[in-house]
Symmetry: C2
Subunit: 450 residues, 2 copies
């Protein structure tokens, strides 16, 4: 490691405080690395990987560490490769509707820069104000707007990346289309930093929608809220967000930091429409009609402040939950959206049977439910009950035709469950692809595959 530090003066640290700071992510897992590197260019990344490759040092690429499944938690003896200093927006090409960025660019910063130029980058993970584009690419991040606009993979046109042995590759095209050879870009997106270290990302951007309308719908009955979602979508309306919060989530927020939402309601929807002002006004009328027909109460945010108030409630969920119980086991299952009511029933039943509180909210439009199993890790019995519940929930999810992760990835926390979803032949192909990119298994080892 000393040799590497000499190669990259000032960019490598083995100081205890750095090893502590870079030893964990939002999953709560923690393993101290042996060193931390802050490359500032592709060339630096090449040097680091070339060194690691010849010396068999595991390398853990890292963005902001906001991942939920331990994807950037080090293995023992590993070198953390933090991309945070490669944070330049290199090009905004309005003519061709694309941008070129370094991986350390914060998602929210990119959003703001683009909006100033009337451009729009849709993926908006809840952590958008601190998560990086590189991390988003590694995890194929989603967000509330995915129902209309898709997820990160739908916007990555190509990447520059460094292979574990230090070779630089360029994938994809600068053009809207391209079908020459296999799609290495899509293979790298969502590979959780196990195939290559992304050093540049070309993203497709859209024109900024002309206008946005935000609606808040309150229901005394969860089933009716589910029906409302169905009715809205059946009319051919695709809102840009369609979020739901269950009773427990609403209680948690209102007990933590009251926002004025009545506590006696059973479900809440946040619906956002974007596009041409006239057409979304018409859509908002249709949506409101569908909600009222199902005895829901609907209000429209009249201005930016009212809109912010609604979204602040949504963003208060995570901190609020920690006031319920010290530990949240946080899953992000997806079911076909028509099965959401059934899945919520199953979750409620499991909660009743085990006496463990579960808080559910998520993206109703695409069937993505954030299930939070609230326990106390120091209470061993309760914690293990919680972990057992995870398996039950995954089983039910898969039976309904769903997936065990819609946004968070597998990382460390879900690696033990991956074979519940991916059969042996497919898993075998994936592992062999990993070997093609990383025959020495030095890049983010132990992630995804158990």
């Amino acid at each position: 490691m000393k040799k590497l530090a000499e190669l990259l003066p000032g960019k490598i640290s083995t100081a205890k405080e750095d090893l502590l700071c870079y030893g964990f992510d939002a999953s709560g897992l923690e393993v101290a690395p042996s060193a931390v590197a802050w490359p500032q260019s592709t060339d630096d990344v090449v040097k680091i990987l070339t060194f690691a490759h010849s010396n068999d040092v595991p390398v853990i690429p890292r963005g902001a560490g906001s991942g939920m499944t331990g994807g950037s938690v080090p293995s023992k003896g590993a070198l953390v490769l933090s991309l945070e200093k490669m944070n330049r927006i290199l090009e905004i090409d309005k003519d061709n509707m694309s941008v070129l960025v370094e991986p350390g660019v914060i998602n929210g910063r990119l959003q703001r820069e683009l909006e100033r130029q009337k451009l729009f980058y849709p993926p908006d993970p809840a952590s958008m104000n601190f998560c990086t584009i590189g991390g988003n690419v590694a995890e194929n991040a989603g967000g509330p707007r995915a129902v209309k606009y898709g997820v990160t993979k739908d916007y990555v046109m190509g990447v520059e990346a460094v292979l574990p042995d230090g070779r630089v590759i360029n994938t994809g095209v600068k053009t809207a289309k391209g079908v020459v050879g296999y799609d290495l870009t899509r293979l790298i997106v969502g590979s959780e930093g196990t195939l290559a270290v992304v050093t540049k990302v070309r993203l497709r951007v859209l024109p900024l929608p002309e206008d946005v309308i935000t609606l808040l719908a309150l229901f005394n009955d969860e089933v009716r809220a589910g029906e409302a979602v169905k009715h809205i979508l059946a009319q051919g309306i695709i809102p840009r967000t369609l979020e739901f919060l269950d009773r427990e989530t609403i209680h948690a927020i209102e007990n933590y930091r009251p926002t004025g939402i009545p506590k006696d309601i059973e479900a809440l929807l946040i619906i956002e429409l974007d596009g041409h002002p006239q057409s979304i006004t018409k859509e908002a009328e249709k949506v409101s009609g569908a909600i009222r027909k199902l005895q829901g109460e609907v209000t429209m945010a009249e201005d930016e402040a009212a809109r912010e108030k609604i979204w602040n409630a949504r963003r208060a969920i995570s901190p609020a939950l920690y006031h319920l119980k010290p530990t949240k086991i946080n899953e992000d299952i997806v079911v076909p959206r028509s099965s959401i009511p059934e899945m919520l029933n199953i979750l409620r039943r499991l909660s009743g049977e085990t006496g463990i509180t579960m808080v559910n909210f998520g993206h109703a439009g695409d069937g993505n439910i954030h299930v939070n199993i609230m326990v106390d890790k120091s209470n061993k019995e309760e914690y293990e009950k919680g972990l057992k519940l995870v398996k039950e929930i995954f089983r039910a999810t898969l039976e309904l035709g769903g997936t065990i992760s819609g946004e968070h990835g597998v990382g460390l926390t879900k690696a033990a469950y991956i074979n519940m979803e991916i059969p042996p032949a497919e898993l075998d192909l994936m592992k062999k692809i990993k070997s093609v990119f990383d025959p020495k298994n030095i890049l983010n080892p132990g992630k995804i595959f158990p």
Copy 2:
């Protein structure tokens, strides 16, 4: 082969007329196979591949044979596996906005079935009335609507496929999101039948747009047509199609089957807007304004008949071209759309220098230009001049940051050029991925990689 015929009675032929019929595709290349198989189920495909794998027989998967690059042209001794009889639409799931189809379903048939239910599958290759969804998946087919709606890969949620050794895999998810493991789906889409034989495809569908407006714009100056494209897009309008035809294309059509387009114009745009009636009416006004400002003449198709007339001209291009010269060398380069005028200038210059007619049309919105080099194959000198031109055109395309194929794939005809675009490290990864799926190299051998 006799043994296989016994295993699948009535589904295998070695009759001369079948070998002839299944020996070529739209590329014009021709090699007779040793047999043709028409499986009717996944199980049949498993039997065929298991047999081929143990007997080292090359297998060439085939849809309708409308591919332009020889992707389904047999190699010597090969077995053609025609998926045309696996042509059922298995499920239209309106609640979850997806459909499940067999690979032999004709694209246009699916479009019509969906429209009846107010649903919409955007990818619309020019061959949509006979090409199959399986072929579309193999080639990652595009079409005029790609500028707004993307291409096939943007709609494939998952596939069932048979590996070359006969194992069945299922990739992707039935849900809108899913990030568990590597994206095998996207790897298979566009792999030109070299990795696995797709036996079922789950496609995402959209609500049918409420209304469509079709505009025809005529220009006396090609540069101004290019400027118009830029102005339309710069206003944040994304038409669902934005096609352009150059002077030579217009002449070819009007000499072949007159549609009433004045022959003295230099360029033509077909612009289609879709969405809410009010918002597209507004958009159409803006588009018309931009065209008139650049001295273009614009007319709006008042009804379905007028719209059809416009599109008939567009669809008459291919047959019309054969009246110019017996052989067309057909390329589908893509450049960043801001570089279209520059690319058209280069093409004109090359045509002038060589004396070879080139006819250019394509998808201006995404920079995809169909370059047709018109020659006579029986005139050896002229044909070789034409082939030399291809290389020049590819070089210029790549220099402008483009790609040598936007829709047609590499197949046989572009295999010799792939290393102009894909550098050695990336090509090495692709070949190793091919070996992971197909270690015996029995599936569509010789395609993509030279």
